[in-house]
Symmetry: C2
Subunit: 190 residues, 2 copies
DNA sequence: GAGTTTGTTCATTTTTTCTTGAACAAACTC
DNA sequence: GAGTTTGTTCAAGAAAAAATGAACAAACTC
């Protein structure tokens, strides 16, 4: 009894099909979402994709963002016309980065979700869970390269200079992350 | 007539099969590249992929980075065992973001390439060509959302607050870009 | 405990992205 | 101009990523 907004609910909504397409955007088809909501889902989804997350994940965050009340898995599934599997996995990813928080509604048995709205938290969660790890493994790999580079007999200076450049870049990367965090913390909008 | 192919001198290159695989890494097979070079190509390629560029593009930048001399399309093709098409397209992309510069070698007819080594230039080129455009189109889309949101009669305050949040985020995004640029400009390593 | 409701997992299918290679163009050579 | 050499384009194939859906588990209800 997905109250309210089921796709093909009682009305004659003909195949309410709203499918994710290449741009990660949603085809404009009859939707249980208000126009501004569809547009927002689409927009947010695009932004999220810029950060390398799949379209469905962006859409899930988007629909939570555009909903006045927390939503449960089933509602998300219906509103976006995505599979239960996608929704479940997408929510997991969003929880991991801290982009979405579970809400326990007193009477309800299901788990509801609301979006994290602090840009700082969103970004730093992403940096922490997605970028930092890469930077770390990058460390190990750099060490391998340094070791191999010592076996080089020819062009010694060139090799050293390049390896050094890599090292510098890597450091710079590690330096910049916390600064981004810092930049976003001031003037907490909204 | 590939001459003076870097590293492993002018020896006979035995079936250099080196294929791009899922992680964007290169299978370890007999390669015309020295070990540190292969490793570097692999490493750099990984980093480049973090920025959303395809593996082959990263590999191309990587091999240029690891080569003491500029390379031409044909040499790149051979060293990485990728197709001429890939190499050509990859080089175009790299030229667009300013990650690679053409070098005119006096006697030679072919076009040779060398890698841009300034981190600042690399990053700002990327921001300019890949991120800025998204931010701009984002502007237009935000306007659409604002317009649609005015048609909303219910939950007025909620809708306004969300739209406002989007606006703030977008501004923040535009503010941060130049700062990143700034951060990278000081102390020019290497 | 039998039957629900809710959610997760994962093999399969679908979609998207990347690479290839062959056809084409442009610029040079003789 | 005919033949090279060098490089680009783009349709088609290959590979990777994402979404689906059905089987399964866990927690609840009676």
């Amino acid at each position: 009894m997905p109250r309210a907004v089921t796709s093909t609910s009682s009305s004659s909504l003909p195949q309410v099909s709203q499918r994710l397409t290449k741009g990660g955007s949603l085809e404009k088809k009859p939707s249980p979402l208000a126009p501004w909501q569809s547009e927002t889902v689409d927009y947010v989804s695009g932004v999220v994709q810029l950060f390398g997350l799949p379209p469905s994940v962006g859409a899930i965050y988007g629909v939570l963002f555009a909903s006045p009340e927390p939503l449960c898995l089933d509602e998300i599934t219906t509103l976006l016309s995505i599979s239960k599997g996608s929704a479940s996995q997408g929510l997991r990813q969003l929880k991991e980065v801290g982009a979405v928080a579970p809400v326990r509604l007193q009477e309800a048995r299901r788990e509801y979700f609301k979006p994290e709205l602090s840009l700082k938290k969103l970004v730093s969660g992403f940096l922490r869970d997605r970028v930092r790890p890469s930077l770390d493994s990058s460390q190990t790999r750099l060490e391998v390269i340094e070791r191999l580079s010592r076996d080089e007999s020819a062009r010694k200076e060139f090799v050293l200079s390049r390896v050094n450049t890599l090292r510098v870049w890597s450091e710079r990367g590690r330096d910049v992350l916390p600064l981004i965090d810092l930049l976003l913390s001031e003037k907490t909008g909204s």
